[in-house]
Symmetry: C2
């Protein structure tokens, strides 16, 4: 069972980033779940921040977002579930700077 | 030079998804840029939707988010730049269903 990191609109992105970095160091896989625009924004910012935290561990991150249905207080909600992987060396764009940005 | 797909808070996620799918089919690489929580949310939703659009092309997606500074109307803003790659076969979690969700 993968660790599920739940992110809310009030989550601090640096705290979430620390959680992601910790799970990735130990398990090399994490899942992040967010419901609503603010939570999704916090989650993505946290992943970008976690990439920095993990530089010293020589781990970079790549993520795969998917929709999933969750039940909250008896109501069905659509959540964004983001699978977090170590970024493979093959995932480099030749015209980029290797950091996900244009050179 | 990679194609840069700019996403705003008012962008329709399905339209952005169509743009991402088109660029991925042709160039096998895209970059998506979003500024602000609503735009980031639209961008991530669009990537999740584009994964569905590209199923028939046997292309899945993996993304790498990073911060970048951009100048808008003379003001420096922090944008989220998301590099979009074809998902390599190696990027599968053994305890997941391969779709970025838990089984």
């Amino acid at each position: 069972m993968a660790e599920l990191i739940r992110v809310s609109a009030t989550s601090r992105s640096t705290a979430v980033a620390g959680a992601i970095a910790g799970v990735m160091r130990e398990q090399r896989y994490a899942e992040v779940q967010a419901i609503g625009a603010s939570a999704v924004n916090q989650a993505i910012k946290a992943i970008a921040i976690a990439r920095g935290y993990l530089e010293q561990d020589n781990i970079d991150l790549a993520v795969v977002p998917a929709f999933t249905e969750v039940e909250i207080d008896g109501n069905e909600r659509t959540a964004l579930r983001i699978a977090v992987f170590p970024r493979p060396d093959s995932l480099i764009h030749i015209n980029g700077n290797g950091n996900g940005n244009l050179a």
